[in-house]
């Protein structure tokens, strides 16, 4: 039997390796290189150790030129990152020459064993630096590692074949070594940059492909879960109609009334679902609106009215309470207005208020406040900040980041039978806010009773409209 989770409602969680995580992996890749390329250092150390006991020989000056050439060839090969055979040969040559160089240093500069180790460690460090910068040359690390041992044998053989002649002066060797070390670092930089550029392009392409795939998956999941979610209220509705149709003559009036009330309730539930589904489609092209001055206080009042209609509550919404005995504390300056679209703002406020009511216990208050943020520091434009605070369950901090994504619901709510939702409300809010050039976020300690505060910042109406500033 498969382990597919089978009790997901109208929910879908974005996978953790989704496109928004694609760029995060550079750091992870770097770690991987260190992890896998790290054994290069021991390889160098082994070479260094071997050099201490092997016969010391001197090499002709032409050796230095050959060595530099091999280095350049190797780096060229790697930065091109395509010539497999060249890369292999160059690695062999470089490691061999490096070994020989160490031998020369030992003879000509008369460095002791500690000095030899130091030189080898430095060279190892340089190579590691190269891997560090050229993040994606993980294969280079493997190639160098695999070839290190045969290459050192070649190096020893070369050293013996050429034989001892006039040794280079010490300062020339050290100079040569410094120059080649610098060259390695510089070339590694260049290589890394080009590789990174390539990566960014690849990353973007991958991002779009993954995005498309995920959207397609989400769409499938949405169709499946919507179908699923519609069936339950539909069953009740069909069942009630069936009972009424067959038995209405025999049913006591009180029961008929109960059935009708129930049928209406599930119909409303169906309507809510259908509306939510429609809104998902509407979201495309949200930016196409003509901005207007939208006064905040009246919009909030109509949002409150809507919240009460949808939660089937009647009573007075002009005041500061709603029928669940909840206190909705408003602190909205009368003259505050935003520059945007009235229906969007109503939607945002309605959603936030519905959430606040849904996720906090009956009787607990809800605070709605607003203030004008004047331009200061990096804030260029005057914004209206709206805060909706409840004193309910709060949001676990580890789940906040996903809260505004489409189809995301908290695991706690998925498990709860009372808190039904589509996982679309906050996502829609975010889309509306974005379309108007604002931002939305939430702050919550995740401690029950402290609740959460949703912040919405929207551009304020321009001063020419005579409202503010």
């Amino acid at each position: 039997m498969t382990a597919t989770p089978i009790d997901e409602r109208l929910t879908y969680h974005l996978p953790q390796n989704g496109p928004e995580y694609a760029y995060l992996s550079v750091r992870a890749r770097r770690r991987e290189v260190i992890l896998h390329g790290g054994w290069i250092l021991p390889a160098w150390a082994a070479l260094a150790g071997a050099s201490l006991w092997l016969p010391h020989v001197a090499l002709p000056p032409s050796f230095a030129a050959l060595y530099a050439g091999a280095l350049l060839l190797m780096l060229g090969g790697y930065s091109a990152a395509r010539w497999g055979a060249v890369r292999m040969a160059a690695t062999l040559a470089t490691v061999g020459f490096t070994y020989a160089l160490v031998q020369i240093l030992v003879v000509t500069v008369q460095i002791d064993r500690a000095g030899t180790l130091l030189v080898c460690a430095t060279l190892g460090g340089v190579v590691l630096t190269m891997f560090w910068y050229a993040l994606d040359l993980l294969r280079l690390a493997s190639a160098a590692g695999i070839t290190a041992i045969p290459a050192s044998v070649v190096g020893i053989w070369l050293t013996r074949q050429i034989g001892a002649t006039q040794p280079m002066p010490g300062w020339a060797l050290i100079g040569l070594w410094l120059v080649s070390a610098l060259a390695i670092v510089a070339l590694a930089h260049i290589a890394a940059r080009s590789v990174r550029g390539l990566h960014t392009q690849l990353g973007e392409a991958q991002f779009h492909v993954m995005n498309a795939e995920i959207l397609e998956d989400l769409k499938d999941a949405f169709v499946a879960s919507t179908n699923h979610e519609l069936r339950t209220p539909f069953m009740a509705l069909l069942g009630y109609i069936d009972i009424l149709q067959r038995e209405w003559r025999d049913l006591p009036p009180a029961l008929i009334e109960t059935i009708l009330i129930e049928a209406e309730r599930v119909s409303r539930q169906l309507r809510r679902l259908l509306n939510a589904i429609l809104k998902v489609r509407e979201v495309q092209g949200l930016e196409n609106f003509t901005p207007n001055v939208v006064p905040l206080a009246p919009t909030l009042r109509s949002a409150l009215a809507e919240v009460q209609v949808t939660t089937q509550e009647q009573e007075d919404y002009q005041g500061h309470t709603n029928p669940q005995g909840r206190e909705i504390r408003l602190a909205i300056p009368d003259d505050l207005a935003i520059w945007g679209e009235a229906t969007y703002l109503t939607q945002i406020l309605t959603n936030l208020l519905t959430n606040a009511i849904k996720y906090s216990p009956d009787g607990s208050p809800i605070d709605v406040s607003a203030a004008l943020l004047v331009p200061r520091g990096h804030v260029v434009r005057a914004m209206v900040e709206i805060r909706v605070r409840d004193y309910g369950l709060g949001i676990p901090p580890d789940q906040i980041h996903a809260l505004f994504a489409r189809f995301v619901r908290l695991s706690r709510d998925i498990a709860s039978a009372d808190r039904k939702g589509t996982g679309l409300g906050l996502w829609l809010c975010q889309e509306y806010v974005r379309a108007m050039g604002g931002k939305i976020w939430v702050e919550s300690s995740g401690i029950e009773g402290e609740g959460s505060t949703f912040y919405v910042q929207l551009p304020t109406a321009p001063s020419s409209a005579g409202v503010l500033l």
Partner: protein
């Protein structure tokens, strides 16, 4: 709806409905009120369903698949695994309608798989049908499924 055990007439058959959806619970309360032969008890989740099945020994259990605490097929496995409850006919009533879901239900050991939406009449028909299933038939079917589940 949930009457005490003492008031149950000798002939009434107890039906346990396990569904977390309040709308469905209310529907069954109203629906079963028209069938005095049956006594309805309701559990809101799988864990509660298991407990009530053990205590009340219903003649049929109607189980939703998507539930918190204990999912439908887990509940079925638990009921089938217990000697006391293994013989109770089980009906799945689910909004999940793919062939895979049907197979999952059958493999867990349900006797009938009903897809939402169904009417009260269809539910009653299913109950009467599963009440006729003999234990030997079920054992044979489960053995067949266990053999390879190809059936």
């Amino acid at each position: 709806m949930m009457k005490g055990r003492q008031s149950v007439a000798f002939t009434t058959k107890t039906i346990l409905v396990v569904d977390d959806d309040v709308g469905i619970q209310r529907f069954f309360q109203i629906g079963f009120s028209r069938y005095p032969d049956y006594r309805l008890i309701i559990a809101h989740n799988g864990a509660q369903g298991l407990e009530m099945a053990m205590q009340e020994m219903p003649v049929v259990v109607i189980i939703d698949m998507n539930m918190p605490e204990l999912r439908g097929e887990q509940l079925i496995l638990a009921l089938r695994g217990d000697l006391d409850t293994a013989a109770i006919p089980l009906i799945i009533l689910s909004a999940r309608v793919t062939a895979k879901d049907h197979l999952l239900g059958k493999l867990a050991g349900c006797d009938r798989y009903l897809e939402k939406p169904v009417t009260m009449q269809e539910v009653i028909a299913a109950i009467e049908e599963v009440l006729l299933i003999r234990e030997s038939e079920r054992a044979a079917r489960m053995a067949h499924l266990a053999d390879g589940g190809k059936g």
